[in-house]
Structure formats: C-alpha cells, structure tokens
C-alpha cells in the first residue's frame, strides 16, 4: 500500500435494499486498499412533527430511532467483517442531512466518501436530483474526501462516479 492509497473510507448510508450497491462498493474499496471503513447513518425525525397526533412526546422516540439506526449499521459492519474488512465501525447522528454530511466530511479527514444517489424524494429532507448534484459538487469543492456516488441501478452509469475507486492523482 502506497502513501497515496486511501486509508479511510466513509460510507454515508441509510440502509435497506436501495443502499445495497453503495455498501458493496464501500466494502470493495476498503478491501482493495485495506482501509478503515466507517458507515455513517444520519437520523432525522422531522416527519414525526407534521404527520402524527400522538399521546407520546415526539422527543422520546428519537432514542428508539437511534437504536434502530445503530442496529442497521451493526448489520452492515457484520457484513463487512465477514467479507474480510478488518477495521470497520459505524457512527449514527441525528440532524440535518446536508449539514451533517458536510461536517463529517471535514471532521473525519476521510480519503473517500461513498454515497448513494437518492431514487425518491418523499420528504422535504431528502435531496431532489438537482439538489443532490449541486450538493455533491459543493462537497467535492469544499472538503477533502473524494466523493464517489453510487447508483442503486448498476446499469445506470453515473458520470460523476469513479468506477474504479482511484484517487485524484491517478486520474
């Protein structure tokens, strides 16, 4: 492994079937470079305020959602370990998706950040397609990690993604 090889890979993921390709890609990269892999899950429960009338306070549900997020990340870590990734962990945080993605990209000094392209925008906190492209562009410009965007459909080639997972110096 050379000094320019990525040592730290961050995978921002929601979980579920649509995250599959993103997770696989991140694990492949971690195996290729024997890098540390962190799965990052952002929790937001803004939908609860508008959607529900309940006899239980909304704030007390955040803890449950946090545990659910951690569990999902634990499953991904287990999957990565079984495939041979030796250093894998996860992080779950609650808050605004855009702000937290930017923050973690800066704070962790990750070499590569793998994200999935959203396929639907059911809520106000999920990107529209144009929003997402603009966000990725600003993230690439303002932060260190090389951003790799993975599409859920493997036949849908994303011109912004790096299909081989190579560093900028190799382009």
């Amino acid at each position: 492994m050379t000094d320019q090889e990525p040592k730290y890979i961050l995978c921002a993921v929601r979980g579920g079937q649509e995250s599959r390709n993103t997770v696989v890609r991140a694990i492949d990269l971690a195996l290729k470079y024997n890098a540390r892999l962190t799965f990052f899950h952002i929790l937001d429960a803004e939908f609860l305020g508008a959607a529900s009338l309940t006899m239980t306070p909304v704030r007390s549900i955040y803890e449950q959602l946090h545990e659910m997020g951690e569990f999902a990340m634990l499953i991904l870590c287990d999957r990565a370990s079984r495939r041979g990734v030796t250093r894998v962990d996860y992080k779950v945080q609650e808050g605004n998706i855009k702000d937290l993605l930017r923050q973690i990209a800066i704070e962790t000094h990750a070499d590569i950040m793998v994200m999935g392209r959203p396929v639907r925008s059911p809520g106000s906190n999920v990107f529209t397609r144009q929003d997402f492209d603009d966000f990725i562009h600003s993230l690439q410009t303002d932060t260190d990690p090389h951003i790799i965007v993975v599409s859920p459909d493997p036949l849908d080639i994303d011109l912004n993604s790096d299909p081989h997972g190579i560093l900028p110096s190799e382009e």
Partner: protein, 566 residues
C-alpha cells in the same frame, strides 16, 4: 271595666283580628311573591332535536314591549317569568341564530290562566333552520381543514387552529357588516369543546410518558422473538397480538412509534424485509385498538359523546375485534408466507445486541406503573357506578403515578403534548361551527331519509360509509363531525337505542384506516420510520396490502355487530 274602655278594647281586637285574617287569606296575587307565575315550554328543531340558547321573549301587542325573556337550556326547555300586570294580548317570540324566527300568540284561555296567577305549559315549539351565507362559510372552512390535514400542507394542529380562527374572524368582524355572517361567539363555541376528552387524553399522556421510558414494549417484542424461536408462523401473530393489545390501552400512534424500531431490528436480524412485520402490526393496531374506551382517540370521542363506558366497549366490541384479528392474522400470513419462509437464523452478535436493547430500563417505575394501571383499570370498569368519568380516572392515575415515582415534574408536564390538545380543542370548535349552522342536521336528515326505519340498513351504511371515507379523510375530524349525525339516527331509528350505530362508527373509522396509507396516523408514522430505515412504504403498496385487510376485518366486525344487536 269602664264600658267605654271595654268598647275601645274590643274594637281594637276586632280590627287586629280582621287584619290578620285579611293578610293570611289574601288573594293568589299576593301568593305570586312566593310562587312565581311561569310559562314553561320546549323548543325543538325540525328534526325534533332540542334547541339550546334560543331566546324566548314574552311581549305584548307591540313586539318591542318586552315583558320577559329567557334562554332555552340544553334540553330545549325554558321557564319564562310572568310579572303581575300583563296585557290582554301576549305573544311568544322565539329567535335564534341560524333559525327562522317564530311568533306564537298566546290563547285567551292561557292569558286568563296567567292573570289568575296560574302557570301554563305551551305545546312544543318548533323552529326551522335557516340557511344563510354563514352556512356555506362554515362548511367551506371545515372542508378546508380536512383538505389541509389530508394533504399535509400544514401541521394538523395549525390546520385546525386556522379553521377555528377563521370561524371567529367571520363571526366577530363579519357580523357588524352583515348579521348573516354570524356563526357563533367565543362563549357559545366553548360549549362544543368536550373537556372530558381533553383531560382524558392529557392524563393518558402523562401515564404513557412513564410507561414508554421503561422499555417494556421492546422487551415484549424481543421476548416474543425468543419464545417463537425465530419461527415466523409463531412470531408474526405474537407480534401482531402484542401490538394490538398495547394499542387497546395506549393510542395506536404511540404503540407503532414504540414497536416499529424494534420490529425493524428483529426483521433485519432474521434477514427479512421489515415490511413483513410492520404492515401486519400496524393493521393489528388499527383493529384491536378499538376494544377499549382509551384505545383510540376516536373511541374517546365516541365514548364521551354517547356516554359509553369502558365496559360498554369491552363487552360490545371485543368479540368482534377478536374475529377480525383472526381474519387479519390469517390474511397476513397468507400474504407474506413466501417472505416468511425465507427467514434466516440470527447471528450471535445481532442476537446479543437485540437483547441489550430490549431490556427493561426502569423496572421499579414499571412495577409502580403496573400497580397504578391496575387500579385505573378497575376504576374504568367500575367507576361508572359512582359516576366517575374517565377523564377523572386518568387524572387521578397520572397524579398518583407522579406522586409515587416523583419524576422531574417539568419533564412530565412536557410529556403532555399540548399540540395534540390544542388540535382537539380547535377541532371541536370547527365541528361545533358546522353543527351550529345546520350542516350536521342536513347530513343527518339526508341519511335518515335514506335509511328510514331500517336499522339493518343503517348499520351497514354507517359502518361501511365510515370505513371507506376513513381511507381518505382523517378519522378524528370525521368521527367528531359524525357524532351528532349518529346521535340523531340513534334517537329516530327504532332499535338503534342500543347504541349500535356508535359502535359501527367506532369500527368503521378505525378499521377503515387500514385501507390506505393516509387512513390512519399510525400508518403514516410507521411508514416514516420504515422509510428512514431504508424500507419505504408507498401508497400503492400499502393499498394493495391494506384494502383487502379492510374488507376482511370490517366484514367480520359487521357480522359480529349484526349478531350482537340485531
């Protein structure tokens, strides 16, 4: 004795005795100071419903010469004081907003009775509804609130507040411009707020805040998983049952908020899509939740309006609910049998993690909550005998729990979701407005004409009409608006006095929620959590799974209600 003195004394005695006799035997007019002369009567509308707050004025030949006036009570009754000197011509003038004014001249015989000092009773007075521009404004506001809630353009509470504010705005600002814009004033609007509902919900919120922090639901779900040994044929119905029974004592949304995250984890650990567990669970929550008075907000509304007790719901609905649940469980298993057969064994790591998360975090609080809950259950079941209303039981239980546990009182008060309470208060005002202007009477009359005296038809119409409409209209405002309609039908249809139509409304509005994603708030929050876990539930997907469940459960519940009441 001196004869002159004797004559004087006797004369004085005679005069004194005469005066005493005159005073005690004075004519009945003097007795009116002790027994007032009254005109008694009752005012009804054209649907034979009592009219409260109608102004009854007694006047002479000149309508402006008001002799006496009074307002009718909630029973429609009035007692009008009649003063001493009354003219030979007397008229009763009955007026009320949103009704035609009624003039009733008193008969000479009645007037004679009154002059003699005797009270009289008039025949029932009927005033007819008057449709004005305020009818259309109130209707539009109500429909607007429903649309805002259904589309999610505004928070539910804000939508209801906007509706209530518009009602007041039109009434107060519009009235000086045109009296036909008047709907009702603030004081009148408060009569439509059911404070029993508000305080019952408030009390339950505090109790739920203590219970949900104990981790009991997560523990129950994990225990179900261990008992079933991961066998889906056992696990699925057990989880559905736990969710349903919890929903019978907490509200559905709370139950799903607590059960969904742990269910997602159990499903993921078994290699299953969480939807395999979540969809049946939320449907079970909508079905079993109506077993008790406190299980759903709609039941709380119905119970308070129709004076149905905790036991009434238990006795009259639970067997039907059990039938519906069995049908639902079979349907769920058949729907997901392919996915269920593909479940995997859980890894030791995930099992350990599940066990850690699904532990009772506050065992002492749980025990205390259990004791208080037991006594509350007894009070719900038997408190009716001492006229103890459910709201008082809930407040007593909440206070006892807080005194015993001594939590941070500010946190506990924060546990009361004031947003929800404001929603209910505002909703009562908006529904009260459409009641005031006559929209509810109009709907009741039309449905009454449609079903006539046929109780069977009425049962089928109410239950299925409620079920289908609940798939598109939020069930809480729908139920609140339907209550006076059902009340009218209950009075007018022979046999309906068993309150069967209220139970039909309960079944239809709750089980109808399974018909679509927006049919119940519990569906929406489950969908929201599942989506955030990466397993979105689309409207079409939920409809495909839920609508057949609606047909099955409502059919089985209908069969029960027909057996029970017809």
């Amino acid at each position: 004795m001196n004869p002159t003195l004797r004559r004087t004394f006797l004369s004085a005695a005679l005069i004194l005795i005469s005066l005493v006799l005159l005073w005690t035997n004075s004519p009945s007019r003097a007795q009116s100071d002790l027994s007032p002369v009254l005109i008694a009567g009752s005012v009804f509308d054209n649907l034979d419903q009592p009219v409260s707050g109608a102004q009854v004025i007694l006047s002479g030949k000149d309508p402006d010469s008001i002799i006496s006036e009074v307002l009718t009570e909630s029973s429609g009754n009035f007692l009008l004081d009649v003063p001493e000197n009354i003219p030979d011509n007397l008229n009763l003038h009955i007026e009320r907003a949103h009704f035609e004014t009624l003039e009733v001249p008193l008969t000479p015989a009645d007037i004679q009775e009154l002059k003699k000092g005797d009270s009289i009773t008039t025949p029932d007075l009927v005033i007819n509804r008057r449709i004005t521009i305020s009818f259309w404004i109130a209707t539009l506001i109500f429909v607007g609130v429903l649309v805002l809630i259904a589309t999610g353009k505004l928070h539910n509470t804000l939508a209801a507040l906007v509706g209530a504010s518009l009602i007041y705005f039109v009434s107060y600002i519009g009235y000086p411009i045109n009296e036909n814009l008047y709907i009702f004033n603030f004081h009148q609007s408060l009569f439509y707020v059911d404070w029993n509902v508000i305080f019952l919900i408030m009390g339950m919120m505090i109790i739920i805040a203590v219970v949900e922090n104990t981790g009991i639901f997560q523990w129950l779900a994990f225990t179900a998983y261990r008992i079933s040994g991961g066998k889906m044929i056992l696990l699925l119905p057990i989880l559905m049952l736990i969710t349903g029974i919890a929903s019978a004592f907490l509200d559905n949304v709370t139950t799903m908020l607590l059960m969904t995250p742990i269910s997602v984890q159990i499903a993921l650990s078994l290699g299953l899509s969480p939807l395999v567990l979540l969809i049946p669970e939320v449907m079970a929550s909508n079905v079993i939740g109506i077993s008790t008075l406190i299980g759903t907000p709609t039941n709380i509304l119905i119970g308070s309006y129709a004076h149905l007790s905790f036991n009434d719901f238990l006795v009259n609905l639970t067997p039907g609910v059990i039938m519906a649940f069995i049908g639902l469980a079979l349907y769920s298993y058949l729907t997901y049998r392919k996915q269920l057969s593909g479940s995997q064994d859980t890894s030791a790591l995930l099992l350990e993690r599940l066990g850690q998360q699904a532990s009772i975090t506050e065992p002492i609080h749980l025990k205390k909550a259990g004791v208080i809950g037991f006594f509350m259950l007894l009070l719900f079941m038997f408190g009716e005998r001492i006229h103890l209303i459910p709201a008082v039981t809930a407040l007593l239980g909440a206070t006892a729990l807080m005194v015993w546990i001594r939590p941070n009182i500010e946190e506990m008060i924060e546990a009361v979701d004031w947003t929800t309470l404001v929603f209910f208060i505002s909703l009562f005002i908006v529904v009260g407005a459409i009641q005031e202007v006559g929209l509810i009477s109009f709907i009741a009359e039309e449905i009454g004409i449609m079903v006539g005296d046929n109780l069977l038809l009425a049962v089928l119409v109410v239950i299925w009409f409620s079920a289908i409409l609940s798939t598109v209209i939020a069930n809480i405002p729908f139920t609140a608006a339907m209550l006076p309609v059902i009340g009218y039908l209950t009075i007018t249809i022979p046999g309906a006095q068993s309150m069967v139509l209220f139970y039909c409304l309960s079944v239809g509005s709750a089980m109808g929620g399974n018909g679509s994603l927006i049919g119940a708030s519990a569906n929406m929050v489950t969908s929201g959590i599942a989506e955030r876990a990466g397993y979105p539930i689309t409207y079409v997907y939920f409809f495909k799974k839920g609508f057949p469940a609606l047909l099955i459960t409502v059919t089985l519940a209908t069969i029960w209600l027909l057996i029970r009441f017809l």
